[in-house]
């Protein structure tokens, strides 16, 4: 277990480091460089030289990377010259709503897709199975933004079940204004369930044909006991990894629903910054979300190790 833990932690660390290298590389590759991005295309050579020196951009690349990384580790993501605020402040303010939406959608998606997959697999080729398969395929094909649009149409404009008056940015605001976040969460949950339930279904199907199921039944274990005591527990194991792997898609989906439903989270902040050619925020948010997903899949893999003794002892 300890060896596995150490190896997995080391792996995550390398991945995070490479993520920072990639982000730094993207920053370096920006046409005209960061100084041009800040000063605009009409800057004088003297101004450019001054700011270049002031920002330390005339030093060797590895020194710049190291300084930049050092700043990152201290929570310094740079300064946003358009909004005249530290980028970390801007991101931090928007983090709560995004985290709430991603977390709630993930939880709901699991609560729906695990029983749904189990039901589909145990009643394979029934009408219910086919219906759910069709649903997940169609839901997978509908772009998230369009699904969000449809949901907004039905629930806000046609049925008038939900009326949104509040701007939501922090975790607390998201918690206290369920009206404002329920539809984005619904949208993201549907797209996530479309992916998860198919995996759950095939996971259960894989397990049901195993020898241990026959053994359990031969010993006289009830159907319920075989299903919940053996099959479900084993089928859940790959789901844990799937959750880790689907983190980037989930965070990306959150960006889209934030845009559609006007939630002041990381996604909307990023989109608005990009539309204003404010690259600093865009890149910082990209980096932040990437690091978050690395941590997310690390946690999932650790959960995997707890659940599956085979991982622990190899």
């Amino acid at each position: 277990m300890t060896t596995y833990l150490i190896r997995r932690l080391f792996q995550a660390l390398v991945t995070v480091l490479l993520v920072t290298v990639i982000s730094f590389g993207l920053m370096q590759l920006m046409p005209g460089g960061p100084v041009r991005a800040i000063l605009g295309s009409h800057a004088t050579p003297a101004n450019i030289a001054h700011l270049t020196h002031q920002m330390g951009l005339d030093r060797p690349v590895y020194v710049q990377y190291w300084t930049w990384l050092d700043g990152l580790l201290h929570g310094d993501l740079g300064f946003d010259y358009i909004q005249q605020r530290p980028i970390s402040d801007l991101l931090f303010n928007a983090l709560g709503a995004s985290a709430y939406i991603v977390g709630a959608s993930l939880l709901l998606a699991l609560l729906i897709s695990v029983p749904a997959g189990l039901l589909q697999a145990t009643r394979r080729n029934s009408g219910l199975d086919h219906a759910f398969t069709v649903f997940s395929f169609v839901a997978y094909g509908v772009p998230t933004f369009f699904l969000g649009f449809l949901i907004q149409q039905w629930f806000e404009d046609d049925l008038r079940w939900v009326s949104v008056q509040n701007q939501v940015a922090t975790f607390g605001e998201a918690l206290t204004h369920p009206q404002a976040v329920c539809l984005p969460i619904l949208t993201l949950t549907i797209t996530t369930v479309a992916g998860y339930s198919r995996y759950m279904r095939s996971g259960v199907l894989d397990q049901i044909t195993q020898d241990y199921v026959r053994s359990a039944q031969a010993k006289g274990a009830s159907r319920r006991r075989t299903l919940y005591g053996h099959v479900l527990r084993n089928a859940l194991i790959p789901m844990v990894t799937l959750v880790g792997l689907s983190m980037p898609a989930l965070v990306g989906g959150a960006l889209i629903v934030e845009y559609v439903f006007n939630i002041q989270g990381i996604g909307l902040l990023t989109t608005r910054a990009a539309l204003q050619s404010d690259y600093g925020i865009t890149l910082a948010a990209t980096l932040l979300t990437a690091v978050t997903t690395v941590v997310g899949s690390l946690l999932a893999d650790l959960g995997y190790a707890v659940l599956d003794p085979r991982v622990r002892f190899t």
């Binding site: 993207l26 094909g141 933004f145 198919r198 199907l205 792997l245 865009t282």
Partner: protein, 316 residues
């Protein structure tokens, strides 16, 4: 590392992918010495999948509609006509007009063309880079492989849409740039799968024989590994195309994709959904239907191809 389900781009399927493709012995019943080719056997399995055949038909129809349609249905989608804005479907305009007075049917054809072109081109770029990188990493093995795969892990940690938003806002939103941006960010899944197969192929006897006869790394990668992973590559290219169409439409919807006068279906939806309150449904549902059908068809076809190429899943 835990035995993770493979991260196939595209819809999750009953089968977790990742087994070596065909080229095993012909199933029983075939006379020995005449093994059927992987493609022929695959085609037979594919032909039995009725849903996949329907999808191919729909996709061909959509492609014909978008590319050949304008030859028969003439409409001017470039000159703004303020005397004919947001007309409902009727004579002269079978699908009505948009907020600029442009013919909606003509715009759907043009937008569909753009979406398909960019999706296909980006998917192909992803396939070429992904297969090559994966084959090389698998062939090299050792710490180089480990490093190359950690780089892939890192790229895959970035939520794709964030990366695309950054790239399109910095490097531009022209058709060519979008093809490159989407193509260069969607090959990581293919790479993982191809690399997994390359690891299995490079220890096979025929590779050893080839090496003994003096074949170098380049020859082994190009002549042995890549041809033997072609099934996986084709399957996942199909999913890549669906994902590229999806990503592109999302970018355009949030205003960071193609810019006027170029337009794709996502951009049309961006405009159309702004008019949802006025009930101009013809500006929303036709482009949406085309986009959804394109994505759906490619995913169904990819699923069927996977069944067709993976001998493990076939009835024997």
């Amino acid at each position: 590392m835990a035995t993770a389900p493979d991260t196939t781009p595209g819809p999750p399927s009953d089968a977790s992918a990742g087994t070596p493709p065909g080229r095993t012995a012909a199933p029983g019943g075939e006379p020995a010495g005449r093994p059927r080719s992987m493609f022929r056997r695959g085609a037979e399995v594919f032909a039995e999948n009725r849903l996949a055949l329907v999808s191919v038909g729909v996709l061909v129809a959509i492609t014909a509609f978008c590319f050949l349609g304008p030859l028969f249905y003439h409409s001017d989608t470039s000159v703004v006509d303020l005397s004919a804005v947001t007309l409902p479907p009727g004579a002269g305009h079978p699908l009505g007009t948009d907020n600029d007075g442009l013919d909606e049917l003509g715009k759907v054809m043009a937008g569909g063309q753009t979406s398909l072109e960019i999706g296909l081109a980006a998917g192909l770029i992803a396939a070429v880079i992904g297969a090559l990188y994966g084959a090389v990493a698998g062939y090299l093995g050792g710490w180089l492989d480990a490093l190359m795969m950690r780089v892939i892990d890192s790229f895959m940690s970035f939520p794709l849409i964030f990366l695309l938003i950054y790239l399109s806002s910095v490097y531009g939103k022209s058709k060519t740039m979008l093809i490159l941006e989407v193509g260069l960010t969607s090959w990581f899944g293919i790479t993982r799968l191809v690399r997994g197969e390359a690891l299995a192929i490079k220890v096979r006897d025929y590779v050893a024989a080839s090496r003994m006869m003096g074949a170098g790394g380049r020859r082994i990668v190009l002549k042995h590994i890549l041809p033997n992973t072609i099934g996986t590559t084709i399957v996942n290219t199909t999913f890549s195309i669906a994902d590229a169409v999806f990503a592109l439409s999302t970018l355009s919807y949030i205003g960071l994709g193609l810019q006027a006068p170029d337009n794709d279906l996502g951009g049309m939806l961006d405009v159309g959904t702004n008019y949802a309150g006025q009930g101009f449904w013809w500006m929303i549902y036709p482009p949406a239907a085309v986009i959804i059908l394109i994505i759906l068809c490619f995913n169904v076809i990819g699923d069927a191809l996977r069944d067709a190429f993976e001998t493990r899943l076939q009835k024997r």
